[in-house]
């Protein structure tokens, strides 16, 4: 049976892509597998380049600080590929900087989940016993806690913002990575080489670091890649609800939210960030999938 989901929104833990049938291996098979990784990797790299590097080196105007004198310029106006929004900001720039904000949130949340959740989970799985129980219960509380309440609370108390969105979403990612890390650790723990290491006198911490972690890392990283897509969508949802990154700074979520209000008049303000969101999530999903195929088809 395929690995069960770990209680996340679908799309996160996916079963392995099945290896090609016997006979199809060989060059064609290898190409397919290689193409499976490199293409999405290239896409992801391109997205990161566009959102993080290009605005610095290329001719991209600032996403804020426009003037309402050029509000609502149509697409293909000189200097504004996709036109401007209601306050005169360049839409292309907003897409890029918005992507940067969304990706920053996703990266940060994933990093927090990986490090904090991964450590907790690995520790719990390795050590077992009552410590395992306590950690898992704590993570269960986080999972059962409606993220919405927390997100609203943070936004209201501290004001919406990128950092606060990261905190709110980390409440999701820490338990998710925690459970995955623990399950993976449990599996690895039973392996012979772990027993061998312990028998030869390796301390617990060293065993954890040198033997357990490297073996659970592939699974965690695959999960992280698939999770990126989820987190970006969630950040969009938060901003859609007004709890994420507040204007005038753009994020794909708040751009979609703002554009939705004038959908009938100017659909491009929804279509552009939605398309960007879609392409990014697909790329991460493809990358995660192909990495999973790589790791499990060994």
């Amino acid at each position: 049976m395929a690995a069960p989901t770990e209680g996340l929104v679908p799309g996160v833990l996916e079963p392995a892509v099945v290896a090609p049938p016997p006979g199809e291996e060989g060059r064609l098979g290898r190409l397919r597998v290689l193409g499976g990784i490199w293409l999405p990797a290239l896409l992801v790299a391109a997205i990161f380049f566009l959102c993080f590097v290009w605005p610095i080196i290329g001719p991209v105007p600032s996403p804020t600080g426009g003037s309402i004198l050029n509000s609502n310029d149509p697409s293909f106006t000189p200097g504004h590929l996709f036109g401007t929004d209601a306050t005169g900001n360049d839409e292309w720039s907003r897409l890029l900087y918005g992507g940067r904000a969304s990706l920053e949130v996703a990266l940060a949340v994933t990093a927090v989940g990986l490090i904090v959740g991964g450590t907790l989970g690995a520790f719990a799985g390795y050590v077992g016993g009552w410590r395992d129980g306590v950690i898992m219960r704590a993570l269960d509380v986080l999972i059962a806690f409606p993220a919405l309440v927390l997100a609203v609370a943070i936004a209201e108390r501290l004001g919406p913002g990128e950092l606060h969105a990261i905190w709110a979403l980390s409440f999701f990612s820490v338990p998710a990575f925690g459970r995955l890390a623990r399950a993976a650790t449990l599996r690895v723990r039973e392996q012979n080489f772990i027993a061998a290491a312990r028998l030869s006198g390796t301390g617990h911490v060293r065993t954890l670091l040198r033997h357990v972690v490297p073996n659970i890392l592939p699974e965690l990283i695959t999960f992280a890649l698939l999770g990126m897509g989820i987190i970006i969508v969630l950040e969009g949802a938060l901003s859609f609800l007004g709890l994420g990154i507040p204007p005038p700074a753009p994020s794909w979520g708040n751009m979609i939210a703002q554009g939705e209000g004038i959908l009938s008049a100017q659909p491009k303000f929804v279509l552009l960030p939605s398309a960007a969101l879609f392409i990014t999530v697909v790329s991460f999903n493809l990358l995660g999938e192909s990495m999973r195929a790589r790791w499990t088809a060994r």
């Binding site: 600080g65 004198l69 004001g159 007004g242 709890l243 507040p246 209000g261």
Partner: protein
């Protein structure tokens, strides 16, 4: 005298269909709602009586009965049902029920309340008050006493009589209610002089009393018998009034289904057999729902861009506005305790450009708290510091720079507005950081060290609703101004019963505000009502001035075909 909303705009989606949190579409509406949300003593808590120029002993009694309502768009046909959409975050929310004593959202829910309860006086197209449940009124005692005469033989929909005793019962009950919505008129006693006359004795002269009814929960009279029989809990969910419609079912802040009241006093009305209010996330969702045939009307659209996209599909009627946007400045603490800083804001704000680019110049710029459709409209104020970028730059340099914390309520419509102002002020060297808050947090802001806020001010009658005192009276917690001279002018403007006298005081007040640069005014809130082809009704397809932000619709005269 104001209803209030306890509902945060945050609770609904912001973008057209988005939820929650923020669907709060009504920029101006929510701003008004904020004001509404806090009980404000518009008449000021000062009990200083109006001075000599106040009231003559009585104003003329208003015109006698008659049908009192007229369909400005011609007679429609009877029959049919109508579904009308209201925006979440404002009129689409009634979280505390529909009992006039406890409905914190009364000012926003006017349509629902009017449909169920009707009113003593109704605002007509053209801006005149006409009798509805009441037939007339009379001021006496220097404006401190007003007697209101009600129609004889009125009955609530449960058959019990709507007489002066019922009215007095209601009004006294409203005043005792622990609710933000309780009217803040300074009442000494309310009694039933006889079966159809109610006498209100006030502590200070209030020439605006009848006008203030328009934006007060006093306007809605509940059946005392039903209240007793059902108990308050049940009553607020399924209220009983004497209006053109009765309640069939009520899902709080989501859907209200009404049907024709066969015992409504105006025979032949209402024209509709059924009326349903549905809550929608915002302008875009509402218009989409109308396009898919789910609703035939939408109140309070405020996205100018959508007007063009839909003007061929529906009848879109611009509603005369009575409330201008204003920038409130807190004169109690730096930086705006310094008049120069305040002037800098005035000089740096290009009202005309904002009006043109963001709102399409629907209404002319204003320089005071009055707007075209309101009473005592004053288009230009002598000495008003207008836009002058050079002066602004010079001022900023003079005071050595200006940093401002500028906030408003979370609203899609205010977003662009705030961003544009931030950009504009930047040109003069003013650094503004902008913030958006939900209603609850917004209230907290005013309790702290706030600097500047984008709000709306004014109402059809400056003494009513989110009138002027709300923003400028020294006793209002939402005011940034603490100036007894201004208080005095506003009190007198309210106290006088002669309209010309009232106008002169309000003109002086506007001039005083401009002279002291207490806060710039911009242009009125722009809203539209949308109706499917074939639907007509006063206030819906014709213009009735808004009392606060939502214009009134005379539902008994609305027809679906």
């Amino acid at each position: 005298m104001v209803g209030s909303t306890g509902e945060s705009p945050l609770s609904r989606p912001r973008a057209g269909r988005s939820p929650a949190w923020m669907s709060r579409r009504r920029c101006g509406a929510s701003l008004i709602a904020v004001c509404a949300c806090v009980a404000v003593t518009a008449c000021g808590s000062s009990s200083k009586p109006a001075t000599s120029s106040a009231a003559t002993s009585s104003a003329a009694t208003s015109s006698a009965s008659g049908t009192g309502t007229s369909s400005a768009s011609g007679t429609g046909h009877a029959g049919g049902t109508l579904t009308v959409l209201e925006s979440a975050g404002f009129a689409g929310d009634w979280p505390t029920g529909l009992d006039p004593a406890t409905n914190t959202n009364g000012a926003a829910d006017q349509s629902q309340m009017d449909a169920i309860y009707a009113e003593p006086f109704e605002l007509q197209p053209g801006g005149k008050l006409a009798p509805d449940l009441a037939t007339g009124y009379k001021f006496s005692n220097g404006g401190k006493t007003v007697t209101v005469t009600f129609r004889k033989g009125l009955k609530f929909s449960d058959g019990t009589p709507l007489n002066a005793q019922a009215v007095a019962f209601n009004w006294n009950r409203d005043l005792k209610s622990p609710c933000t919505c309780k009217p803040t008129i300074m009442v000494k006693a309310i009694t039933a002089a006889d079966d159809s006359t109610v006498k209100v004795d006030m502590l200070v002269p209030d020439g605006a009393f009848i006008n203030q009814l328009q934006d007060s929960n006093f306007s809605w009279i509940a059946s005392p018998t039903a209240l007793k029989k059902m108990g308050e809990q049940q009553f607020k969910l399924k209220p009983v009034g004497a209006g053109p419609f009765t309640v069939v079912s009520d899902t709080l802040s989501n859907q209200l289904v009404l049907k024709k009241n066969p015992t409504y006093w105006d025979t032949g009305k209402p024209l509709l057999d059924g009326l349903t209010f549905k809550t929608t996330a915002g302008d875009e969702t509402a218009l989409e729902a109308m396009q898919s045939g789910q609703a035939q009307a939408y109140e309070g659209m405020n996205t100018p861009k959508l007007v063009n996209s839909f003007k061929d599909k529906f009848t879109i009627t611009a509603q005369p506005s009575t409330s201008p946007y204003d920038i409130q400045l807190n004169t109690a603490i730096p930086p705006f305790n310094n008049k120069d800083a305040r002037l800098a804001i005035y000089y740096a704000t290009d009202t005309a450009l904002l009006n043109q680019k963001l709102f399409g110049n629907i209404y002319p710029d204003t320089q005071s708290f009055t707007a075209q459709a309101g009473l005592f409209y004053n288009p230009t104020v002598p000495g008003y510091p207008g836009y002058d970028l050079n002066k602004a730059k010079a001022m900023v340099k003079q005071i050595g720079g200006l940093n401002v914390n500028f906030f408003t309520i979370t609203q899609p419509a205010t977003q662009n507005f705030m961003v544009a102002l931030q950009q504009m002020w930047k040109q003069a060297g003013i650094n503004a950081s902008i913030h958006f808050y939900s209603l609850a947090s917004l209230i907290q802001q005013f309790q702290g060290k706030w600097q500047a806020a984008l709000q709306t001010a004014g109402a059809w009658d400056p003494a009513g609703g989110v009138g002027v005192a709300f923003r400028f009276n020294s006793h209002s917690p939402f005011s940034g101004v603490h100036d007894p001279k201004l208080d005095d002018l506003l009190n007198q403007g309210q106290g006088a019963t002669d309209p010309a006298t009232r106008k002169s005081f309000y003109d002086k007040a506007a001039e005083y505000i401009a002279q002291n640069a207490y806060g710039p005014f911009l242009f009125p809130v722009a809203t539209w009502n949308v109706a499917a082809h074939g639907v007509t009704g006063p206030g819906l397809t014709s213009a009735i001035p808004s009392v606060a932000v939502n214009p009134q619709v005379l539902w008994e005269d609305v027809s679906a075909s």
